[in-house]
Symmetry: C2
Subunit: 394 residues, 2 copies
Amino acid sequence: MKFARRMEKFESNELLALMQLAENPDVISFAGGFPAPEMFPLEEIKVVSQNILCEENRSALQYASTSGYKPLREKIAERMEKQKGRFVDAEQIMITSGSQQALDMSGMVFLDENDVVFCERPSYLGAINAFNSYYPQYVEIETDDQGMVIEDLLDNLQKYKDRLKMIYVIPDFQNPTSRCWSKERRVEFLEALKDYDVPIIEDGAYSEIRFEGEPEQSLFALDNQNKVIFLGSFSKIFCPGFRVAWIAASEELIGKYLALKPGVDLSSSSFSQRYIDQYLEIYDIDHHIKRTLESYKDKRDFVYDYMKREFPKEVTYNVPKGGLFFWLELPEDKSAKELLTLALKENVAFVPGCSFFPNKKMKNTIRMNFSNMSKERLEEGLKRLSKVLIIYLK
Amino acid sequence: MKFARRMEKFESNELLALMQLAENPDVISFAGGFPAPEMFPLEEIKVVSQNILCEENRSALQYASTSGYKPLREKIAERMEKQKGRFVDAEQIMITSGSQQALDMSGMVFLDENDVVFCERPSYLGAINAFNSYYPQYVEIETDDQGMVIEDLLDNLQKYKDRLKMIYVIPDFQNPTSRCWSKERRVEFLEALKDYDVPIIEDGAYSEIRFEGEPEQSLFALDNQNKVIFLGSFSKIFCPGFRVAWIAASEELIGKYLALKPGVDLSSSSFSQRYIDQYLEIYDIDHHIKRTLESYKDKRDFVYDYMKREFPKEVTYNVPKGGLFFWLELPEDKSAKELLTLALKENVAFVPGCSFFPNKKMKNTIRMNFSNMSKERLEEGLKRLSKVLIIYLK
């Protein structure tokens, strides 16, 4: 049987096979990007449930409208103004089935074969996976602690100006590095792009997951050319199980996504949308987020302290001010995949960073989640990993 | 700003503009394909809700696995054997976010630009929309009351054998015509294809929506070459608001879909999947389906009797034994789009059939839903439509 060419990318994926081993329940895995289940507001969701499941709400069980449940879009629009600093109305919001769907649809709206996508170096693996379906070429722009390096961006704009179709960035607590762009870099970035009529996809999935410091303005708020498309999600600030996320953009751009949505899944779950809407109606989500962040900060400190104390000094890493990940670098000649093979024998796992580079892989990098597990389990996992690191780096 | 070429298909869609007018609440619309909300088992879903939202079930709010919640996949596998007559195990089932997602993903797995897709004439508009993203070419195979016309299928197999990549069919109560293929035609169809290693997508969304007669065996059960991919859905037999559907196929083929699923939406809603699973666990869905079918049969009879009595004799239509639609034909020189323009002035709407033909449109056809509205509203809608028809055909 013949398959589409895109399937070749997925054949015989050695890394996928390793990651499947990590699903064994004996393995303590730092691999996923899952939020902490103990923070899910279960009691509140029970109350929401009682409010939703009543005779007047039968439409919660029916197909939703293409753009999403209007009261929810109105609430999101209001939050966008409060949290992201730009006024939008409900018609500038489209609900998606998780932010991952918004990534897939962004590829669908903008990309044809051999079109060029600029992304950070490294970038989010899930976005690369999603865009791959449309056969683009990636140009990885150098990134430092402040964000994209503007000189490299300008060089590549010169080089690819005719083929550039989309720019994808995660300015807040990027997956995988947890970097956050500085205000200056955000302004310079938009300034560098002012003569290019190219959409900028701003992935804001982690933008409210900040443990310290003040929020930076979103690119969406700084943009005065209506070319930033903001992707937001309830997965990290509420619960991922509902699969409710959103796209905010100019009405014209939202219209493009709306045109494709019926073909992709008709509509996102009306049931899930009502839950989020009703939760926002009767509870204070900001209070919930604050509690979650305290727990994450505590876990981050715990993991950081452990690594500082026990990990070999050749392993370097950041101290994330937000997000869900540590990003580790081994000495340059070392391979995180080799390390993972050893680690799995000790029943511990992580994601080798190579998957986050669409072109030139950095084989010595590691992404490590700290949000999902209890501190007891984190400690046991760190103990195992530390042992493997000491053997591997000897 | 530049968009992908696929967006051109959606620009300035005159029909879309008309259909938006149909969303006005004053309009009685036969356009949607929605099930009857009064049949949704609200009380049972309340009980399910109480069972799910408890401490041991926090994972219902977390990301689900790529293939879907295993207990649900096991239950679906069991039902597949009972309802569709072929043994499958849970590893041959993948959960999707509505059956529409399974259509989109089928295009993604199999189609590159200019690949040929065979479909019935007419075929499901939503499938055409989904496949369009991958730039295929359609070959419409003639279809009569028994199913695809085998001579036309054989002719086109000869003609397109090198470019044919996928066959898409809806053998049970097809959207839009509500036709059901005969047993003989199913067997002949598979026989005609036995030397072609081409996937057959069997869309079974309506396969349990039968008011009279005995179920025909699915292509999936008749296939002994592992090339039929069955798409099933809870939208029509339970509630669409959960967006839970499934793909059943050989493990090898399911593996292809699984490879793409993380890029498309990471996973389907674990929350929704738990609801369906728990409902199937404690209630008898077959009893629920039986009640729903009685109500649909009653509505079908009501609409049929009205049309027979009041519609101009030049309008012809079928008597659907299942599914959710009547398929009407006006005299050949008439246009359903023209009729819709008049109908909207009388606050009544339907879908002009032209959208269901990817290539050679039949402009004189109409799809009319009968499942969604109350009989009172159906009657008022029919009254308005009858008036418009009489004027238009005079």
